[in-house]
């Protein structure tokens, strides 16, 4: 499991637009770097990031090798109800990691 750092405000007012910051540990190997053997190091990237809010998708990103190592993505969403924000990162091999955060909306 890669280390992830997620920042979601723990509470928000209903209708407020909140900022969410996500950071995950991943080398995002481009496939263009030449290794010590002289051969390119194979591409190994996270290529999909999805955020759902109580099960409904609110943000999606398709990542390419041009995204820096340890991908950082911050975005906005409307605080609608209390509940769970789920963040999933999927790599090019189809492996997915999911992290969650709770939010209380008044």
């Amino acid at each position: 499991m890669a280390r992830a750092l997620i920042h979601v405000p723990p509470t928000a007012k209903r209708g407020e637009v909140i900022e969410i910051k996500t950071l995950i540990s991943h080398v995002m190997e481009t496939g263009y770097r030449i290794g010590v053997t002289g051969a390119p190091i194979p591409r190994d990237i996270i290529d999909q990031f999805v955020c759902t809010y109580n099960g409904e998708e609110v943000f999606r990103a398709r990542l390419f090798p041009a995204i820096a190592a340890n991908p950082f993505i911050s975005f906005f969403t409307v605080a609608t109800d209390s509940g769970t924000l789920a963040f999933s990162w999927t790599d090019q091999h189809g492996k997915t990691q999911v992290e969650t955060a709770q939010i209380t909306v008044e």
Partner: protein, 260 residues
Amino acid sequence: MRAFNAALLFLPLISTFVAAQAADIPMNERKSGSAFIGPDTKAMQDDDTINPGMLAVLDGEALWTEKAGAAAKSCADCHGDAKATMRGVAARYPAFVQALGRPVDLEQWINMSRTEDQKAEPLPFESKELLALAAYIARQSHGMPIAVAADAQTKPFIDAGRDIFERRAGQLNLACALCHDDNWGKRLAGNLVPQAHPTGYPIYRLEWQELGSLQRRLRSCMSAMRAEPYDFGALELVDLELYLMWRARGMPLEAPAVRP
């Protein structure tokens, strides 16, 4: 060791050039590497929610409570809550160890605990685990002044480190002091030359795209100077670290820092 012998060969030549006209940077003119980076890099460093080095700090926090070795002990089993027990520790390393009769740096001290107390294998230099523990421990000294002092025991090693810092070496015949004492603030290629204070280690270096140690940075610079870099764990590197931390005494620690 090879580099040290090679340097000896050139000693007669070097002594004809005065060992770098280096004057020490006056204490009140000392600036952390943070003063020489762009505003965006600084912003990345100052915000815990976006600093990539914090991922390693979190890894270190997890490792702190993980049992290891034949003794099946975790760091926490002896050292308790790191926030309390590790407070100020990184700020006074490298530290003199009586049993060895010389200073060791933080990574070496972590490995000594691993082998002697946890009865576990030492963690390899620059391994993710060792860096994570070093980052977590260094984080507990965040904002605290560097507290490496010169005393009867440490002075010979500080002097040995200063010697390395001021001695010309390599194909370009450069000494660390030439850039970092005499020409800090000027530009080398796209970057500003900093004063080389190790206030932020382990650092997340954008060039590396990962966290790395002071020894890695020193070796990298020596290669760039076209000098043979000392091996990881070499006594010379620890002496140099000790000198650099002493030179930066009183400056606040800011680990994990972000550098270009």
